[in-house]
């Protein structure tokens, strides 16, 4: 009876091992300029602006407060809506007041976490989706030239997803009473940060 268990565990390790073994770097005699750093440049972009980081993490925090199904709907939907905004930015479609929209997103999302607001799922998704377009658009218009579109895009999206995961990870403390207070404090800090960036946008 012990053999099936061993096979089960062994197969899992073997699967990961094969992929790790196959993941070796190639020798590139003629590197294509820009591509080698495309993924890392894309990865760094969403985490380079503190206003973006605040809002992304706040989405995760709010999702954790709202619980299922919001906790999984928001991380699935947000990257796609944000990428849609990025696509508009890349295509040159104008979106007025982007900086204000980003700052306002941090204020509103921070307040939602601070006051532990629990609107209907559609309202929460619409609010988050609306601001995701501003964030994506800002990134889309700021993309540096000379990058690999594919690797840059993947790095960009993965970093965004990781910020959500960070917020959701922090949000797991919501199960404890002290954790709920901590999350509300974090929401307050996000809102204050958003107010600061709004002030900077006007200044």
């Amino acid at each position: 009876m012990g053999h099936p268990g061993f096979t089960f565990i062994g197969a899992r390790y073997l699967g990961v091992l094969v992929i790790v073994a196959l993941w070796s770097q190639n020798a590139v005699a003629h590197p294509q300029k820009g591509e080698a750093v495309g993924f890392l440049t894309g990865f760094r972009h969403p985490i380079s602006g503190f206003d973006h980081v605040l809002a992304m993490v706040a989405v995760g925090l709010w999702g954790a407060q709202l619980g299922a199904p919001a906790i999984w709907l928001l991380p699935v939907a947000f990257p796609m809506v944000m990428a849609f905004g990025g696509m508009l930015g890349l295509m040159g479609v104008p979106l007025p007041g982007t900086e204000y929209g980003i700052a306002l997103s941090a204020i509103l999302l921070g307040c939602a976490v601070l006051f532990e607001l629990k609107p209907p799922l559609g309202v929460a998704a619409a609010l988050v989706g609306f601001f995701a377009i501003f964030h994506g658009h800002a990134h889309g218009t700021e993309l540096p030239p000379g990058q690999s579109a594919l690797l840059y895009s993947m790095g960009f999206v993965v970093a965004t997803g990781c910020l959500h995961a960070l917020g959701i990870g922090i949000g797991t403390v919501h199960r404890w009473r002290w954790g709920q207070s901590l999350l509300r404090c974090a929401g307050g800090l996000v809102a204050i940060g958003g107010a600061f960036f709004m002030w900077k946008a006007f200044a």
Binding site: G15, N26, P79, L90, S148, V157, T160
Partner: protein, 204 residues
Amino acid sequence: MKRTNTSRVPLYAFVAFTLVMFAFPAEAHLNNTGMGLFYDGLMHFLMSPEDIVPVLALALWSGLRGAAYGRRALFTLPVAWLIGGFLGLSTVNAVAHPIIAAAWFLQLGGLLAADAKLSLRVTTALAALLGLYHGYLNGMGMGQPMSAVVVLLGLVFAIFVLVALAAAFVVRLHAQWARIAVRVAGSWIAASGLLMLGWAVRAR
């Protein structure tokens, strides 16, 4: 005990996905592994994110749909890829359109994110189409037919292994959060496709 046995599978799937996402840039020429043409072809696939990501999306999606779908993708995709490769051997210049590449990301990532419940026949058709198109692109400009066949075999072998691993991991996932984690991967792939689409339109 049962919970303990199944709880780590999603973790490994995530680790595997993360590693695959760190694939390095594609190059028009084959990677010289020094181990022969078979491994050159194998490595060419593993170093080409524009090839590997749609394959991964298809494998994860078919795994989500069940073992029958996973098996169908496992055998249809490599065979179609090989046929496409043979067809492409007679062509000299490789022209991979960035909008079509973005469309594959968007379509397969979107299907995975939505956990779309398409029929087995449609899944088979998608796998065949993906294989034919990408195989055709791979086969283009490969040079001498005899050596190209060995390269293609290595490439197809890598596809078979990747689909087998990825689909098998997902087929065994039953916890809701684990299946959602796989769908999040699909949303990331679709989001990358959207950005690639914007990039391709801007470049025109």
